[in-house]
């Protein structure tokens, strides 16, 4: 099954290798991995999606915590959360074939961000299935996809959830920490929202 972990890690050289190396060592394939700055100066935020057995979640999270540069790890599991992916898709299109693509883009609530005589570039954010939907429709139309660039998933829990990080950094979060499985059982609700 797919697991999603959100990790806060120190923003310094080599940290990504340590995280990636852990998955390699456990022989777990990383489905997608995104990293970027977080709301805290010295911390990066990662979303790691990987394919592993249902029981593996505990061990992966525990092992991530054993890395000295990892400050916090959240196993999203079925918790209510928002997941998005960004895709840039370059499609071959001329003056004559553009309009059909414009229509598709409209339907998918995507955007055209670049236009040349022979091609155009579509930007789209959304859940994975939506992006895959657009790609499929493009493939089924007469248009030829030239390039696809996908960011991988980014995930954020709904509601207030930074208390764990604040605690890990030694600050007083000023609110009750959330137990790990507060949202267990809320998976269906989450799924419903995801597939809006």
């Amino acid at each position: 099954m797919l697991h999603t972990f959100v990790a806060y890690v120190e923003d310094r050289p080599g940290v990504l290798t340590r995280v990636a190396s852990l998955f390699r060592r456990l022989n777990i394939n990383i489905h997608s991995l995104t990293v970027g700055h977080s709301e805290r100066n010295s911390l990066s935020r990662m979303t790691v999606v990987c394919d592993a057995s249902a029981e593996a979640g505990h061990r992966i999270r525990a092992s991530l915590f054993k890395l000295e540069n990892v400050v916090d790890v959240d196993d999203i599991a079925g918790a209510p959360s928002v997941t998005r992916e960004l895709a840039l898709i370059k499609v071959a299109a001329t003056k004559h074939t553009r309009s059909a693509i414009f229509e598709l883009v409209e339907v998918f609530r995507a955007r055209i961000v670049d236009l040349t005589a022979e091609s155009l570039m579509i930007e789209m954010t959304g859940v994975e299935s939506k992006i895959e939907g657009l790609i499929q429709v493009l493939n089924e139309s007469d248009s030829r996809i030239l390039e696809i660039c996908r960011s991988g998933k980014m995930t954020m829990r709904r509601g207030h959830h930074t208390s764990g990080v604040l605690r890990a950094m030694g600050a007083d979060p000023g609110e009750k920490p959330l137990p790990d499985d507060e949202f267990a059982g809320a998976a269906e609700e989450s799924a419903a929202i995801e597939s809006e």
């Binding site: 190396s21 060592r25 505990h58 525990a62 092992s63 915590f65 054993k66 890395l67 000295e68 890990a168």
Partner: protein, 588 residues
């Protein structure tokens, strides 16, 4: 090693911030961390550090191969409970450490390894003797640092010590570029102190878990405590003993657990697992409750998992959350420091009558103990078991024994009875041949007043025998017993059992070990019969300097019982009634 005056100067650095070179900061920080001994080997990229050594009250032991430095630091740590320190140069010096670092990693031994690297300006250019040692050691260290600024040296080394000894201990490597060693910075030991150690956030000892554990223990008819290395690491010997005695629960030990519970204790069953005694493994298979204390259900201990202790509920007390449910699914997990958890658990454990179960186990020993090889009449054969048994008898068990890896290691575990923790030093997790001699040197530095014995095979001994020179140079007293069977014995045993006696690449020609010792100015003696064993051991013990005994034992003896890989714990290969072995030890 410096004089008293240098010691005083070094201590002043610790209280008054002073401008020092990076090289001086390395030593000053080590002094501040309480280090008195380091093991290392110099080279270009670490020369500034060596140049500064004379100003500091630290004893440096020159090894003969950097693997030896890591094993010595490891043996030092295992014998003392302190952090061991190894030093090497860049490139080949650093890569030579790797086997020793991995050995420490697999057995959770606190080490700090310091390596020099090329100057930061040429880092990443394949400069002479440059190697990406932080990359190489990433999976075999708890953490590592690449330091290229002088001011970062003290904080990195201080963090390294904290990480090495905290939680589940392990090795940490600090790689320092040459220019960082040569530059200067204000050394402020107090300011370099790391933030308080963050315990693993998933440690969890809940009220409900403790209650559940107590309840399981109360209702169990056939409980067994499985005690591992964690008992020694968390110094939980007293608590373990109290639990066992109060609830009358027999204790089985892992290889690294030996010594954590006294061998002579009536509740001690002995070692479990691949070469554990039959009654121990049978008892585990029959048990209705396993209480695992600081052990990780290694494959050498469980046999095939599908049939492991099928009737037992399992309580796992363990400091590393990543070990919970890794190999064996448990019913209650108490994730925390073993001693602390046992202290919380003990008030909930009432006295209990365990006599029926203990009697059952006793009965299952049957005639096994009587037929044991050590009880056989002297028939002129010299069995390794005799040697180890006599060594134990003569030293009254009052020695630190450092073993290598192979059959002799298992015979040591079976026939040398350890009463106290840190008296058996052995590479369990990685099973590193060549470990014994250097690790024993480290142990002797840690405990100079203790009697230290190496028990090594003819194969493994040769992997690091160059360290005999280190013994000679440092003039230390270690006794060495080579169990010389002319084979890579443990591999030969596997070939005998599982590869139709195809002894490919296991017969082994060795030098005359007594002459080899002699070449190093170390005395020695060959032993061919059981009658000579006691006298030889006594001669070695009373000799003022190091002494080597070359025991020419039966060549094709095997370690029994044995659980073949992939078999259940109770499916053991037993010593044949009519051991076909007729051969006697060869004179070489």
């Amino acid at each position: 090693m410096g004089t008293d005056a240098t010691a005083q100067a070094a201590h002043e650095h610790l209280t008054t911030p002073t401008r020092l070179t990076g090289a001086e900061i390395v030593w000053a920080t080590l002094v501040g961390e309480g280090v008195t001994d380091v093991f290392g080997y110099p080279g270009g990229a670490i020369l500034p550090v060596y140049d500064a050594l004379r100003k500091f009250p630290i004893r440096h032991t020159l090894v003969r191969h950097e693997q030896g430095a890591a094993h010595m630091a490891d043996g030092y740590a295992r014998a003392s409970g302190k952090v061991g320190v190894a030093i090497a140069t860049s490139g080949p010096g650093a890569t030579n450490l790797v086997t020793g670092i991995a050995t420490a990693m697999l057995d959770s031994i606190p080490l700090v390894c310091i390596t020099g690297n090329v100057s930061s300006k040429v880092l990443g250019t394949d400069a002479f003797q440059e190697v990406d040692i932080t990359g190489i050691t990433l999976p075999v260290t708890k953490h590592n640092f690449l330091i290229f600024r002088t001011e970062d040296i003290a904080p990195a080394i201080r963090s390294a010590f904290q990480i090495a000894r905290s939680g589940r201990p392990g090795p940490v490597l600090v790689d320092i570029t040459k220019d960082a060693q040569q530059g200067t910075a204000i050394f402020d030991f107090a300011a370099a102190k790391p933030r308080p150690y963050r315990p693993h956030p998933m440690l969890r000892v809940e009220e409900s878990g403790l209650a559940q554990a107590a309840e399981l223990i109360r209702h169990s008819k056939r409980p067994i405590i499985l005690a591992g290395h964690g008992v020694t690491e968390s110094e939980a010997m007293e608590q373990l003993r109290t639990l066992a005695e109060r609830a009358q629960i027999p204790v089985a030990l892992t290889l690294l657990g030996l010594g954590g519970f006294p061998a002579s204790h009536p509740l001690n069953l002995g070692m479990m697992g691949m070469h554990g005694e039959s009654w121990v493994n049978h008892a585990i298979q029959e048990s209705d409750l396993l209480i695992a204390c600081g052990m990780r259900f290694d494959d050498r201990v469980t046999g095939t998992l599908a049939t492991y202790a099928p009737k037992a509920k399992k309580i796992h007390i363990e400091v590393d959350p990543a070990e919970i449910n890794k190999n064996v699914k448990v019913d209650v997990a108490l994730v925390g420091d073993l001693r602390a958890v046992l202290e919380e658990l003990l008030p909930r454990i009432p006295g209990r009558d365990g006599s029926a179960w203990i009697k059952t186990i006793e009965a299952s020993k049957g005639a096994v103990a009587v037929h044991d090889i050590k009880n056989l009449p002297d028939s002129g054969h010299l069995w390794a078991a005799h040697v180890v048994h006599d060594l134990w008898r003569i030293t009254a068990g009052n020695a630190i024994v450092v073993t290598d890896v192979g059959q002799h290691q298992m015979w040591e575990a079976q026939y040398f009875h350890h009463e106290h923790p840190r008296t058996l030093i052995t590479s369990g997790g990685l099973g590193t041949m060549g470990f014994a001699l250097p690790a024993a040197i480290g142990a002797k530095f840690a405990c100079p007043e203790k009697e230290v014995w190496v028990i090594a095979g003819d194969g493994g001994f040769q992997m690091t025998s160059a360290e005999l020179s280190t013994i000679a140079q440092e003039k230390i007293k270690i006794n060495i017993a080579i169990i010389n069977n002319g084979y890579l014995g443990m591999v030969r045993q596997w070939q005998q059992f599982f590869y139709e006696r195809n002894y490919e690449a296991t017969p082994l020609v060795s030098p005359d070990f007594v002459k080899l010792a002699d070449a190093h100015g170390i005395r020695g003696r060959a032993v061919r019969t059981r009658a000579e064993v006691a006298d030889a051991v006594n001669e070695a013990r009373s000799a003022p300097g190091a002494f080597l005994l070359n025991f020419l034992v039966e060549k094709e003896d095997s370690v029994y019982p044995m659980i073949p890989v992939g078999s259940a714990l109770h499916e053991m290969i037993r010593r044949p009634d009519n051991d076909p072995l007729l051969e006697s030890a060869d004179d070489k």
